[in-house]
């Protein structure tokens, strides 16, 4: 049986791992390779590296740390941030990333999803979606979220976009519920359930994890394939081995 994945997200800025609250106020939390190796040893199922400044700064990812991570760890990892062309994607995958994730570039050029899926296979192509509920109750996507001053509302419904990216060949969707991000109040179960209902590819929950109970809630109520967290792992608020033991005891399929 396919296991539910616990994923640690490492936001990367200027070659270091950082963490912010609601996408603001970034603190330095450590070295990329040290954190990647520590989480692998603790049993994390997958790592995601978001180069959070890449999209807003209009540049691609730096492949030098990607190759170092690929050599250091023996679990899968995904690289996100500023990948806006076939050539950039090829660089990152050739450097050893297992998957690439695109967010703002997919919104600016939806054809990019298809181009990447045709070249590398859907399984390598993750689409990240940053989503916020508007005053009218609708969830809509945001782009350029690395910096609050550049964040844009796209006039595009989140569920509509989930449908389109699957149609275009996305192999996985990471839904970042921005209102929950960094709050440690739990995942956005309503939004993730709505997303699950229209998502036939793997769906990863992101934003709001604060304790083990939040992970079991999102697996049980939303049937997501994985749940992603950052700050609680970086700050040792939740131990990865203890979290996985607790989820397994609750009958959730987990790799121990």
């Amino acid at each position: 049986m396919l296991k539910k994945r616990i994923i640690a997200c490492l936001d990367v800025a200027n070659g270091r791992v950082v963490k912010g609250v609601r996408f603001r106020d970034h603190d330095d939390v450590g070295d990329i390779l040290e954190l990647a190796a520590r989480y692998s040893a603790q049993g994390i199922d997958e790592l995601v590296f978001y180069d959070i400044l890449a999209s807003t700064a209009q540049r691609g990812v730096a492949p030098d740390w990607v190759a170092k991570v690929a050599r250091r760890i023996d679990i899968p990892f995904c690289v996100a941030g500023g990948i806006r062309s076939l050539a950039q994607a090829e660089q990152v995958l050739a450097a050893g990333a297992d998957k690439i994730s695109i967010n703002t570039p997919a919104l600016e050029n939806p054809q990019l999803i298809t181009t990447l899926a045709d070249r590398f296979g859907s399984q390598c192509v993750v689409v990240g979606i940053d989503s916020l509920q508007d005053a009218d109750g609708q969830w809509r996507v945001r782009s350029h979220t690395g910096n609050p001053d550049t964040t844009r509302e796209r006039g595009l419904g989140t569920l509509e976009w989930i449908g389109e990216v699957q149609h275009r060949g996305a192999g996985e969707i990471v839904l970042n519920c921005m209102a929950s991000d960094g709050t440690r109040d739990g995942f956005d179960l309503a939004q993730l359930s709505a997303a699950r209902a229209c998502c036939t590819v793997p769906l990863i929950a992101s934003g709001g994890a604060g304790c083990a109970q939040h992970f079991s809630e999102v697996f049980i109520h939303c049937d997501v394939d994985g749940a992603l967290a950052a700050g609680i792992f970086h700050r040792n608020l939740v131990s990865i081995p203890a979290l996985k033991q607790e989820l397994a005891q609750q009958g959730i399929a987990i790799r121990l």
């Binding site: 396919l2 679990i75 899968p76 050739a94 297992d98 070249r119 296979g121 790799r255």
Partner: protein, 199 residues
């Protein structure tokens, strides 16, 4: 470990992680499409990320298919590299190497079964083999949309909606549908098992 491994350079593949995983085991490992180096290797690996059509194009362009078919040392196809060991792939509707009889088809969608099959899943042995020593029942990392037909070549199965071959063998030719280089300690064990197999 005295293994001298060649990774077939077929383009678009994740060589770095595979090379690192093999080197961590103390073996020599390099990428090549040079026939002499490939023939001289103790073990040959077909890595795989990409599509069946693109991989076969790269193999055809370098005229590697007859060479691969003539190898007598242990050969290991990984993920897409396993799929192209079979005769035909529904992905790109392309004829593949034909080292193992059978076809590769898209995994069917079903209620609660997401495609691609992405994540950690257990393998269960149907036959004993040195390749599987110490790893049956363990979780490995899978990322794929297509899977081979079950056949006499199946050494271990995995289940995602339906059972499919996770590990296959026909003579000196082995294939794994998962990524051992991304499967933690158990993946490392499987690669060590492979490097311990001699022609």
């Amino acid at each position: 470990m005295n293994a001298d491994v060649v990774l077939l350079a077929t383009g678009g593949s994740n060589f770095t992680s595979l090379q690192a995983a093999i080197e961590r085991l103390g073996a020599r490992c390099r990428q090549s499409h040079d026939p002499e180096q490939i023939r001289a290797a103790t073990h040959v690996v077909l890595p795989g990320v990409g599509s069946a059509g693109a991989a076969m194009q790269a193999i055809t362009a370098q005229n590697l298919a007859p060479l691969i078919r003539s190898l007598s040392q242990p050969v290991l196809g990984i993920c897409l590299g396993m799929q192209i060991l079979f005769s035909h792939s529904e992905e790109s509707d392309v004829d593949t190497l034909g080292l193992i009889p059978g076809r590769v088809r898209r995994l069917p969608n079903a209620d609660g079964i997401r495609i691609p099959h992405m994540g950690w899943n257990a393998i269960n042995a149907v036959r004993d083999d040195a390749l599987l020593a110490g790893v049956t029942g363990q979780d490995f990392y899978f990322v794929h949309t297509y899977a081979a037909d079950d056949s006499e070549a199946t050494l271990a199965r995995c289940t995602h909606g339906q059972a499919f071959p996770a590990v296959v063998r026909s003579g000196n030719v082995y294939g794994v549908q998962f990524h051992p280089e991304r499967s933690g300690p158990q993946g490392s064990r499987l690669l060590a098992n492979f490097l311990g197999i001699t022609a």
